[in-house]
């Protein structure tokens, strides 16, 4: 494949054949060398075939192979003339990350870590299927979750009203239509609200290990050795079912509207078509389920940590720093060639990174930019970054989302064989409880790229700036 280096961190796949625009990949030379053996560059090219795509088919430095779109892929579609593709969002609609900061310091929490992790493990369901029996959704409740998102949970007493100020889109996408979420999707979700799921999803107790930018960290309320909690989860079976059903519809729709695609998994429909509108309204409802899911788990995490420490929940000072979507398609407005344009931004494994001064950046952060939350793997570290004007100009206000796998699950299991990974992690000061120990092996740190490399590139490329590094001390997983 033809590849041109634009500058230190940008590579162009020039437009050719059926491509409407170039592909642009953010990576350094080493990463690009590794990507040569991967199908993900081909996927960047394929996305450039979608009608109505604006600027370029983009990929962040955590790019890796996905279905249709690469993971780490970003595509902005013209809101009038463009298409929407469920493959550009992914199966786990609004998989995302929430960060809570506390008034607790590492030294006061460390002696109680086992109790904390045990409480979290007992109170926040992980792994197969069901959520807590004390949260069962009636059909009215489900309707509320799908249309109101995180606010539904807050009105039920599962959180604080000001939590909503610090969530992307305030925790609810507009234009969600609960009636377009099928009975099957509702059934898959009915017992799963307030559950973590499996795979790379986690809930971590962390501490602030490094501060790179004091003033911005202060604005985010982060100080060294402070305890934080990070939740990585999405819309569970409900979102998977919505994606699966609409992919099916879009296969036919692409044919109906005469859209030729290099990969069936990229199937799509015009945004203004009935199929396109229906997908967007169902996807928004599933996204709201995910916002509510992270809200409920945050509440239980607050209760669990307070109970483990034997204090009132208010004493821990646990509050929301921010909550971001990693898999989403949303209408956002950008200045393009001097004109304001409404764009349907597909972020598949990418994080919104709005700059200082943007009206959607929460008031508390308006002088420094939106917090960007980048989870790493369970043995290493995660990052907090801040959004920039350059991301706004170059990548539809988007940056990376995480580390990205480099080993297959069976490779990881082979690599772990004979090692007690749980003990290894404990020796490194990380206490873990997981529903399936096989997951721990598959999710071992070495199975992932080092998230620090990904973060360094977006920092140097100016798509977001490094603010703080968080290291895990307690983990629960599926």
């Amino acid at each position: 494949m033809k590849l041109e280096r634009i500058d230190r961190h940008r590579w162009r796949i020039p437009r050719s054949g059926g491509m409407f625009v170039d592909g642009i990949v953010y990576a350094d030379a080493q990463m690009m060398a590794d990507l040569q053996n991967d199908q993900s560059l081909e996927q960047v090219r394929n996305v450039a075939h979608l009608p109505g795509i604006i600027g370029a088919s983009l990929a962040m430095p955590d790019i890796h192979w996905g279905y249709g779109f690469p993971i780490g892929g970003v595509a902005g579609m013209d809101a009038e003339e463009g298409v929407v593709s469920p493959g550009g969002v992914g199966y786990d609609i609004n998989c995302g990350v929430r960060l809570l900061a506390s008034a607790l310091r590492r030294e006061e929490v460390s002696p109680h870590l086992r109790e904390i992790v045990t409480h979290l493990y007992n109170n926040v369901p992980t792994g197969v299927g069901e959520g807590r029996r004390d949260l069962r959704l009636s059909s009215d409740d489900m309707r509320g979750v799908l249309s109101e998102g995180a606010a539904w949970a807050v009105t039920r007493g599962l959180g604080e009203a000001d939590d909503l100020d610090r969530i992307e889109e305030n925790g609810a996408l507009p234009n969600a239509d609960p009636d377009l979420v099928s009975d099957r999707a509702r059934q898959r979700g009915a017992t799963q609200l307030g559950s973590l799921g499996s795979g790379n999803h986690f809930l971590e107790v962390q501490y602030v290990a490094e501060i790179y930018d004091e003033p911005v960290a202060a604005a985010f309320g982060l100080v060294k050795d402070q305890i934080t909690v990070m939740i990585h989860s999405g819309s569970r079976g409900l979102g998977h079912q919505v994606c699966q059903e609409h992919l099916r519809v879009m296969v036919d729709a692409a044919r109906t509207y005469g859209i030729t695609l290099p990969d069936r998994q990229l199937c799509c429909a015009p945004i203004r078509s009935p199929e396109g509108r229906q997908y967007l309204a169902a996807m928004a409802a599933a996204a709201n389920f995910a916002f509510a899911n992270r809200q409920v788990m945050s509440h239980w995490a607050r209760e669990s940590i307070a109970a483990a420490l034997g204090v009132a929940p208010g004493r821990t000072g646990l509050h929301v720093v921010y909550d971001v979507c990693h898999n989403i398609a949303k209408f956002e407005t950008f200045q393009i060639d001097g004109k304001e344009r409404r764009v349907c931004v597909h972020r598949k494994g990418s994080t919104r990174a709005y700059p200082a001064g943007h009206p959607q950046t929460p008031a508390a952060y308006r002088d420094v930019g939106q917090p960007v939350l980048i989870p790493g793997d369970m043995g290493r570290y995660s990052y907090v970054l801040a959004g920039t004007a350059r991301a706004q100009a170059q990548t539809f206000g988007s940056t990376c989302h995480g580390a990205g796998r480099k080993m297959s699950r069976s490779q990881a299991k082979r690599a772990v064989r004979g090692r007690d990974l749980i003990e290894d992690l404990e020796r490194r000061g990380i206490y873990i409880r997981a529903a399936g120990m096989a997951t721990v092996a598959e999710e071992m740190p070495e199975a992932y790229k080092d998230v620090a490399d990904v973060v360094r590139i977006v920092h140097e490329a100016g798509l977001s700036t490094r603010v703080a590094q968080l290291r895990p001390i307690g983990v629960i997983k599926g």
Binding site: Y67, G197, R248, S408, Q411, A438
Partner: protein, 143 residues
């Protein structure tokens, strides 16, 4: 003839299975086997209850995705694991239909440890190819 059934193929992000069958019925049966084996220890799943499934789709690939999606739905909503499936696949004037009797049981955590949780069945690399000795395709699960 290549071996019947399924073999798992190494895949960085997810779980991929190569399915083979002398007939389409066998191929669809292999897909059901691959799903159970991806999620748990298949030998431990007993045929205690049975279910009937009928699905239709415009082409064979869509039908295969719907078929495995249906089994996944049974697992997510009822924790039903498939021990054996006897699908019968046939073409009709508007496309393809599968009628199947499936047997299996509700997951018992003590006997059925979870290997991975499959989120969805994908279209990636899915192309049912007819060979001299039967049918073959790749099937990738999103996990």
């Amino acid at each position: 003839m290549a071996p019947q059934g399924f073999t798992f193929v190494d895949h960085t992000a997810d779980v991929a299975a190569r399915l083979r069958g002398a007939t389409l019925d066998d191929l669809f049966g292999a897909a059901a086997g691959a799903l159970t084996a991806a999620m748990t220890v298949p030998e431990a799943v007993a045929p205690r209850q049975s279910r009937a499934v009928t699905l239709e789709a415009a082409d064979l690939e869509l039908l295969l995705v719907d078929w495995v999606g249906e089994l996944l739905y049974l697992f997510e909503t009822e924790q039903f694991l498939v021990a054996a499936a006897r699908p019968s696949v046939a073409g009709h004037d508007r496309g393809w239909r599968v009628e199947a009797e499936i047997s299996g049981e509700t997951r018992d955590p003590a006997r059925h440890p979870v290997k991975v949780l499959v989120k969805a069945v994908t279209f990636h690399g899915l192309r049912i190819e007819r060979r001299a000795d039967g049918y073959e395709t790749l099937l990738v699960f999103d996990i």
